[in-house]
Symmetry: C2
Subunit: 204 residues, 2 copies
C-alpha cells in the first residue's frame, strides 16, 4: 500500500516519461539553496534533485545566480543591475544606489522582497542563503570594482543602512519613512551612504 | 465529556480559588498587545482578560510600558534608559546611543531582542505592536526632549540605521559587521547618526 501510494505521489510530482520541466528545476533549486546555502549549492546537485541533466539547467537558466533569481522570483538580478550602477564610479554612487534600490522595492508589487526579508529574519537557513547570495553576488562585485580602502566594511555599512531603510519603510512601516517620497529619502540617506563609501573609517 | 475536559483545562490554566497570579496577567497582556497593538491595549482590558482587578495589574506592574516590558521580557525599559541618554543633550548623543544599543543587545543572552525583530519582520500583529511601543515610548520621548527641526524624521532615520545594524549584526550575521568590536562600529556609525540628528535635511 505504502509503495503504491508513493509511486502515485511520484507520478503526480513529476510525471514519468514527460519532459523534465522548469518547475521541477526551480523546486529543486529552492530546496538546495535553503538546505545548503548559496555557496554550497551546485547546478549539478540541483539537476540531480530535479532528475535532469545539468546541461538542461544551464540551458534554461545559464548560471547559478540566474537560477537563484528565478527560483526565488527576485525582481532583478544584481549582476545585471550592478554594472550600470558602478559604471559611474564612486562619484554619486550613493544617489544612484538609493534611487535604484527604492525603485526596485516600489515596483515589486508581488512582495517577493518583503517575503525574503521576512524569511531571512525568521529562519536561519533563509538568512544564510540570502547572506551568501548577497555577499557573493553584490558585496564582492562592488568591492572588486571600487578602489577603496576597507571595501568589505564599507559595502557592509551601506548594506546595513539599506536593510534598515527597507525594514522601516516596507516591513515595519515606521513613519515618516514609510510614506516619504523617494527624493526626500534619497536626500536624507545619501550623505550617510557617501560617508560609508568614501569617508574616513577606523583602521584606514 | 467535552464539558468535563474544558473544566479540567480551565482548572489547569488558572486554578479556581487560587490567588490570581502574575503569569495570568502577563499572558493576557501578550494576547492583548498582539491583538490590539500597544496604543489600543489597556490595563483595564488586560485585567479583564486575566480575570483580575485593574488595581492588581497596577500594583504588580505600575504602568502600561512596564507591563509591556515584563510581558515581552525586554532587557530594558526605554523609559528608564532614555533620560540618562538624553540628559547630555544632542551633543555626543549618537555615541551614547550606539554604545548603549550595542551593550543591551550583546547582554541580551536570552535572545529576546532577536526574537522580537524576527516576530516583527514576519507577523503584521507583532510589527504593529513593536512599532507602536517604539513610536510612543522611544521616538516621541526623544522628540519631546530634543529641540530640533523635523524631530520625527530625524528620530526615524536614526531608528532605521540602528535597526539595520541590529539585523545585520545579530539576525542575518553579515560580516564584518557581525564580528566587529563595538568601538569600531561606534566609530563607523556615529558620524552618520550625528548627521541624521543635527545635519541639514530636505524641508528644513
Amino acid at each position: 500500500m505504502v509503495t503504491k501510494a508513493r509511486r502515485k505521489l511520484r507520478r503526480i510530482g513529476r510525471p514519468a516519461g514527460s519532459p523534465p520541466n522548469r518547475q521541477a528545476i526551480l523546486a529543486a533549486a529552492r530546496k538546495q539553496f535553503a538546505e545548503r546555502g548559496y555557496d554550497n549549492a551546485t547546478i549539478r546537485g540541483i539537476a540531480a534533485g530535479a532528475g535532469v541533466d545539468p546541461a538542461l539547467v544551464h540551458h534554461y537558466y545559464g548560471s547559478k545566480d540566474q537560477l537563484f533569481v528565478a527560483a526565488l522570483g527576485l525582481p532583478v538580478n544584481p549582476r545585471d543591475a550592478l554594472p550600470q550602477l558602478l559604471a559611474g564610479g564612486v562619484n554619486g554612487l550613493e544617489e544612484r544606489l538609493l534611487r535604484r534600490f527604492l525603485d526596485v522595492w516600489a515596483a515589486n508589487r508581488s512582495g517577493t522582497l518583503v517575503g525574503l526579508v521576512r524569511s531571512a529574519s525568521s529562519h536561519e537557513d533563509a538568512a544564510r542563503m540570502v547572506r551568501e547570495f548577497f555577499t557573493h553576488e553584490v558585496l564582492e562585485r562592488v568591492i572588486e570594482t571600487l578602489d577603496l580602502p576597507q571595501p568589505r566594511l564599507r559595502a557592509a555599512l551601506v548594506a546595513s543602512q539599506l536593510l534598515g531603510l527597507a525594514v522601516a519603510r516596507f516591513v515595519v512601516r515606521l513613519e515618516p519613512i514609510a510614506s516619504a517620497d523617494p527624493d526626500t529619502l534619497i536626500a536624507c540617506y545619501a550623505p550617510a551612504l557617501k560617508r560609508y563609501l568614501t569617508g574616513p573609517l577606523p583602521g584606514d
